[in-house]
């Protein structure tokens, strides 16, 4: 039941975010799909005891691959898809709790949470960049074979 709930809400939330960012209407469905895939990966890993940071890296990597697939297929900038996917992973909850602890003078807990939020934002970035690197390696290796053929 929870998983169905999560699938539906993550799809709607990601698609709604694309509307807030004025995304193209024809890509709404695909953006929702990218967001859903990323969130379900994260959710399943996290509820099965995988570390939050690692789960975020894997989820953002998946998002980046899915976005690059859609970007190539529909000849649209990749950013439209990746932004929609990334939004659910942004550590809003942790950053919020950190802020709250700061205000309640519990600095130890606040610094703890802030460091965690920072780690998670970093791991989102690592996942994105990692897939970009792989994408470029694939593209370069394809280019090389083309160059070799023409020479």
């Amino acid at each position: 039941m929870t998983i169905v709930e999560q699938i539906i809400t993550s799809f709607i939330a990601s698609a709604a975010f694309v509307i807030i960012f004025n995304g193209p209407k024809r890509s709404l469905f695909h953006c929702g799909l990218v967001g859903m895939i990323g969130w379900i990966f994260y959710f399943l890993l996290e509820t099965n005891g995988v570390d939050m940071v690692l789960a975020t890296v894997i989820a953002s990597f998946t998002i980046a691959i899915a976005s690059q697939y859609f970007a190539k297929k529909y000849k649209t900038p990749v950013i439209i898809y990746s932004v929609a996917g990334i939004i659910p992973l942004v550590p809003g909850g942790i950053a919020y709790n950190a802020m709250r602890s700061f205000v309640e003078n519990d600095y130890n807990l606040a610094i703890n949470l802030a460091a965690k939020a920072f780690m998670i934002s970093g791991s989102i970035a690592i996942g994105l960049v990692f897939s970009e690197v792989i994408n470029q390696i694939i593209r370069k290796s394809k280019l090389k074979t083309i160059v070799n053929k023409t020479h």
């Binding site: 809400t9 807030i20 004025n22 900038p77 950013i79 205000v103 989102i124 960049v129």
Partner: protein
């Protein structure tokens, strides 16, 4: 000679317009620079150097005559992914040789002047729905869906309103998150809502600078250090404004 000079200036005008629209709509720096260079080379200016930062674009074209350089200033930045996609499409068509310089300029101008594809109320509705959905995604209860829906929608509406009132981003984000905190407090104290934390986290999500964070990191990794740091600072300021607005609620109640 005079003809050639004029043509170079025309090419630069098209490139700068394309760059300006993309940058104002929230495209990554590398995409802006790449698009400008592609357009320039498809019109025959093979040596061009765009230098793009979030607050301005420097563009110079080398040729047989002395090098020409232009600078434009970017003041207003919003998020409009549709425009990024449209300019990208125009650039592809220019590369394919479908446009003359004048046609390209006209098309770009049309994109630049076009408004948002969605009306204000659709935006607010989207913010409201996504707030409710985020509440469920963060393991909230279904009975809190309605409070988060209202809080998120009104919070986003107030962000747009305050931004129109005083065009300082920090102020509008701070006031919007303050209002979100107040509404969540109201819902919880009247017994309509259950968990204060979950309602606030869900409703604040539409204000979170997710696009800026992703762009900042991608720019940094691509070697656009100045843009990356500037966007990172922008994202940090937004996060700080939201946090401060919520913090005010906690220190008073």
């Amino acid at each position: 000679m005079e003809m050639e000079k004029q043509e170079t200036y025309d090419i630069m005008a098209v490139c700068l317009l394309a760059g300006k629209i993309m940058l104002q709509s929230g495209a990554e720096t590398y995409r802006v620079e790449d698009t400008m260079m592609r357009i320039a080379s498809s019109f025959g200016a093979y040596q061009s150097h765009p230098y793009v930062t979030p607050t301005g674009i420097l563009f110079s074209v080398e040729g047989n005559e002395p090098t020409k350089t232009k600078l434009i200033r970017i003041v207003e930045r919003t998020t409009d992914l549709e425009k990024v996609a449209q300019v990208n499409g125009i650039s592809r068509r220019i590369s394919a040789g479908e446009f003359t310089i004048e046609q390209a300029y006209k098309e770009l101008k049309k994109i630049g002047e076009s408004g948002s594809p969605y009306s204000l109320w659709i935006h607010v509705l989207a913010a409201a729905v996504s707030s409710g959905c985020f509440l469920i995604m963060f393991q909230g209860e279904w009975r809190d869906f309605f409070p988060a829906f209202i809080t998120g929608g009104l919070g986003f509406l107030s962000l747009l309103y305050f931004h129109q009132l005083v065009p300082i981003k920090f102020f509008s984000e701070f006031s919007a998150s303050l209002l979100i905190g107040l509404q969540a407090l109201f819902f919880v104290s009247t017994g309509i809502g259950g968990e204060l934390d979950k309602i606030i986290i869900g409703s604040v999500m539409p204000l979170v600078p997710g696009l800026l964070i992703t762009n900042a990191v991608r720019d940094l990794m691509a070697g656009h250090l100045i843009s990356g740091l500037a966007k990172g600072a922008d994202a940090f300021l937004t996060a700080f404004a939201i946090g401060a607005g919520i913090a005010v609620i906690f220190s008073f109640f």
